[in-house]
Amino acid sequence: MSTISRRRILRGMMDGAAVSVTLPFLECFLNGNGDARASGAPLPVRFGTWFWGLGMVSQIFTPKTVGPNYDLPEQISSWKDIKQHVNLYSNLNVVTDGRPPVCHYSGWIAVATGEAPLNGSSYPRESIDVTVADVIGSGTRFRSLQLAGTGSQRSTHSFRSTDAVNPPEVSPTDLYQKIFGPEFHDPNSPNFTPDPGIKMRKSVLSAVIEQSTDFRRTVGSADKQRLEEYFTSVREMEGRLALQLERPAPAPACKIPAAIDKEMPVGIDAELVASRHNIMTDMMVMAVACDQTRVFNMMYSDGTAVTSRKGFPRVHHTITHEEPVDTKLGYQPDSAWFCTRSMESFAHFVGALAKFKEGDGSLLDRSLVFAYSDLSLAQAHSLIGIPMMTAGSAGGRMKTGIHFDGKAGPVTRVGLTVLQAMGVQAGEWGVNSLKTGQAIGEVLV
């Protein structure tokens, strides 16, 4: 993270060859090409994940054509404005190597960690966002943001281990307070005074932790690692507080959204979920634009999605099991309805980043979103052809707008590609049959 002093900002401004005095204040923090801050520090690249449960209906989801400019079947017709930013990966599989295929679980775990789980209640390895956050997440106020459209505190796919989970924000009002509440400092404000409250918190935290050296000795060997994770979290928090005591680097696209003070109702109705998802997405986009975080994770629904529909007695998950296949259509229409709604929300998510201008491009241009589900055909809990997408070019490291046919390879090829695009040093990724060294060259620049 380039924490830039005032002097350095000014010097950067003078050095930027094409800086014009007539530019608005914020623009003048960019260099002439608009692809970097005037100081020469590049605009940051961000990483996000987006999850939806219960897959898709292949007949109306999978494009007929592969490669660029793929067609948009009915289920993804909502992508028409974002298609050029989205890569769709089809025909990639999860193999569990004899481990039990746990319904609604093994699939997404394999996609997100590169390893099939041993059972339905543990995570084999850290999630991919944590791996990426270790590389790009340390210079901002929040290492990562977890959001859930479900309203459930348990809806998160961000974890370092089974018992080390990053909890999600589930309420738009709480999310607003967390990011733009009293502790937010506008990165573009001409004035900066370190907040004495933050200063106090930092020094108290450091001093309190210093007092705990004796405590460490009371911890048995089995817990040493757990305690070390706690201390790592504390050190990170100290670092973040220290960061808030320095003038933040200008974030040219940062706009502070209007406060949200009305609590959203609890509920899992598809309309409500979409609205909660969209409000939180828009706020998250602002948080990213204001460089409060560079890693963000959104759960539209859980693996066993319990999204409901007005007037329908059962939830999406139950419908996938109980609805007869329409013989004319060849699939379950009510179940498909929910998948289509999921894809609309995905379009909103990607569109929100794409519409947000930053420098010469959009936030999406400097982001990579990795979207995935837990299975392909929910009725069969199928781990064959789990749908995955990426959106955004990660600052020019990814080609976009491509439908890639994985030819029955492992799902981990996408994860490996994502890691490499995000600058994680990874020659291979995955475990057992999911291990791969083959990033997808067709989409990497």
């Binding site: 089974t162 018992d163 108290v204 001093a207 979290s233 899992i268 007869p324």
Partner: protein, 557 residues
């Protein structure tokens, strides 16, 4: 704050402490050998956090705390605390909770009665006053008296903080919130000592275990004093504390939390029903349904000291106006919780027929005999029902067929598939007995015009209707032993293992002999030496003499 609350709090919490000087703590006997440790550190849970702070600062301070959820282990989230890790995200939650509570505690509306002193100036440090606050608070948060060295350090931290922000209370609050993210507050690490060749828990660790079991909170001052003066190590001293704690109003917190956890009530956080199908099932009903069951449990087990098994048959409960609408009854006092007893001929009786259970284990717009049956087996009988196999066509449940009117008809069709039949045989005959209650928990006699047949079976016991199910669960020998097993796991904060069978046998025998009174079950566990035993394979870090002194820091001051 009303006087009653203040008095309660004064006797139970911080105010009572100011009488006990930090330096008056009795020295431990010198025969104690250096402390070793038990294997797992336990992270404070959200209910423990709130219960503990409420015990220290009183009921009038608000505790709007949302901590990171933990993993459910062996049927209890509480047991997951022994594996939980504080990630960056989880620490943010602790930090935010600590700052909110500290701000509340030192808010002008509370500080006058919480603070034992007033600073000479509100703008400047006052070390003597800060110290008077930090010593007893630190002792309760860290479950041991702070050493003189520590107390000095915390006073200095507060001093610097007050100068930083130019306000006594803000700076002191900042110090308090710092202590609320300290590992010593967040983690409980059991310590052991060797006495006459025997490795045992230190009295302090005994106190913590005891109060976590009975109050689901850290020890209060009196219990800590009993640990500090050694009386907790004697049978008599232990019995005295157990008696006191079982008689305390805080026992209700412990019992409430245990059942909230065992009944998987965190699912209420996201429970909603389809408003078109069940218009009476409002958000308020969701909140009240959870509370109704917890009130019923506390009243029956704690206040009446009733037989645990009677929870499945009791007609006594509490209702609000919103709930009464679902139950289809009228209550006397529509403005608050009112005791209510269902008539003898009512289908309602016991926890299974309460809205909480019926609605939680249903679909948003339909009942589910399978979910209900599974929940009864898994929650109340400690049995594991297998998940459905990965590739099954359930669509017979839905296929339009005018002859399939009731859930029973649909499930019968479904069970014609032999792959499904195996598991449905162990869930559906139980759940079908609850079919007279719809997905919101309201009573009904028919579905789609067909009269509901609510007969069923639980293992060898067959019955004609829900009354029979209630009796069958009441009389099932596994019902009380399952509770005893869960409670033992909760007490030890680890899953039950094969090696625990002797202990379980003992606990079960005692539980039965005491008429299945949960208070007595708690007493049996809390006074049994196994509860405080140190496992033979306990890992013992090599502790040299210097380390031993720091480990016992606080007892030497």
């Amino acid at each position: 704050m009303n006087m009653k609350a203040k008095l309660f709090w004064a006797s139970a919490g911080l105010l009572g402490l100011f009488a006990a000087s930090v330096t008056a703590i009795a020295e431990q006997k010198s025969e104690l050998k250096p402390a070793a440790v038990l294997s797992r550190a336990r992270l404070i849970t959200q209910p423990q956090y709130v219960n503990t702070l409420r015990g220290i600062f009183g009921p009038n301070v608000k505790y709007p705390v949302v901590l990171a959820p933990m993993h459910r282990v062996g049927g209890l989230v509480d047991v997951g605390a022994s594996a939980a890790v504080v990630t960056g995200g989880a620490l943010e939650r602790f930090d935010s909770a600590g700052r909110t509570v500290a701000k509340e505690v030192l808010d002008p509306s509370h500080r006058d009665y919480i603070m034992p002193c007033r600073p000479a100036s509100e703008k400047l440090p006052d070390d003597a006053c800060a110290r008077k606050f930090l010593a007893p608070v630190g002792r309760l948060l860290f479950r041991r008296a702070l050493s003189e060295k520590e107390l000095k350090a915390y006073t200095e931290i507060a001093h610097a903080a007050i100068i930083e922000v130019g306000d006594f209370y803000t700076g002191l609050g900042g110090t308090l919130s710092g202590m609320l993210v300290a590992p010593e507050f967040l983690y409980v690490t059991p310590t052991t000592e060797v006495v006459r060749g025997e490795n045992r828990l230190t009295a302090r660790s005994r106190a913590i275990r005891l109060s976590m079991l009975l109050w689901n909170a850290y020890p209060d001052s009196e219990l800590l004093t009993a640990a500090e003066n050694g009386s907790l190590n004697t049978d008599k001293g232990l019995a005295k504390q157990v008696d006191r704690m079982l008689a305390s109003p805080r026992l209700a917190d412990g019992v409430r939390n245990f059942f909230d956890d065992m009944l998987v009530f965190e699912s209420f956080d996201t429970l909603t029903k389809d408003g078109k199908i069940y218009p009476a099932f409002t958000t308020q009903v969701t909140t009240d349904a959870r509370e109704q069951t917890l009130r019923t449990i506390v009243a029956h087990l704690v206040e009446l000291n009733g037989d645990y098994r009677d929870l499945f048959t009791t007609r006594k409960t509490f209702l609000t106006n919103d709930l009464a609408a679902i139950y289809g009854v009228a209550i006397n006092d529509p403005d608050r919780w009112a005791p209510y007893e269902f008539p003898t001929d009512s289908a309602r009786g016991g926890l299974l027929t309460q809205v909480s259970f019926l609605a939680l284990y249903s679909h948003p717009g339909r009942s589910s005999p399978t979910r209900r049956g599974r929940a009864i087996r898994e929650i109340f009988l400690c049995q594991k029902v297998p998940d459905p196999p990965p590739n099954v066509d359930f669509s017979a449940l839905e296929r339009p067929d005018p002859t399939l009117k009731t859930a029973r008809d649909r499930l019968n069709r479904h069970s014609q598939n032999p792959v499904c039949a195996g598991c449905h045989k162990i869930t559906d005959p139980i759940g079908l007995a609850l079919e007279n209650f719809d997905g919101a928990g309201a009573y009904r006699t028919d579905e789609s015009g067909a009269v509901i047949d609510a007969s069923g079976a639980l293992n060898d016991a067959s019955f004609k209707n829900v009354k029979g199910l209630e009796e069958a669960l009441h009389n099932n020998p596994r019902t009380p032993t399952c509770l005893a097993e869960r409670m033992t796991s909760y007490a030890l904060n680890r899953p039950i293992e094969a090696a625990d069978q002797d202990l379980l046998n003992y606990v079960n025998t005692k539980f039965a002999a005491n008429g299945y009174r949960v208070k007595e079950l708690l007493r049996v566990i809390a006074t049994d030496k196994t509860f405080y035993a140190v496992p033979a394979d306990n890992d013992k870090p090599t502790i040299n003499k210097a380390d031993a002194e720091t480990v016992t820091l606080g007892r030497k001051s």
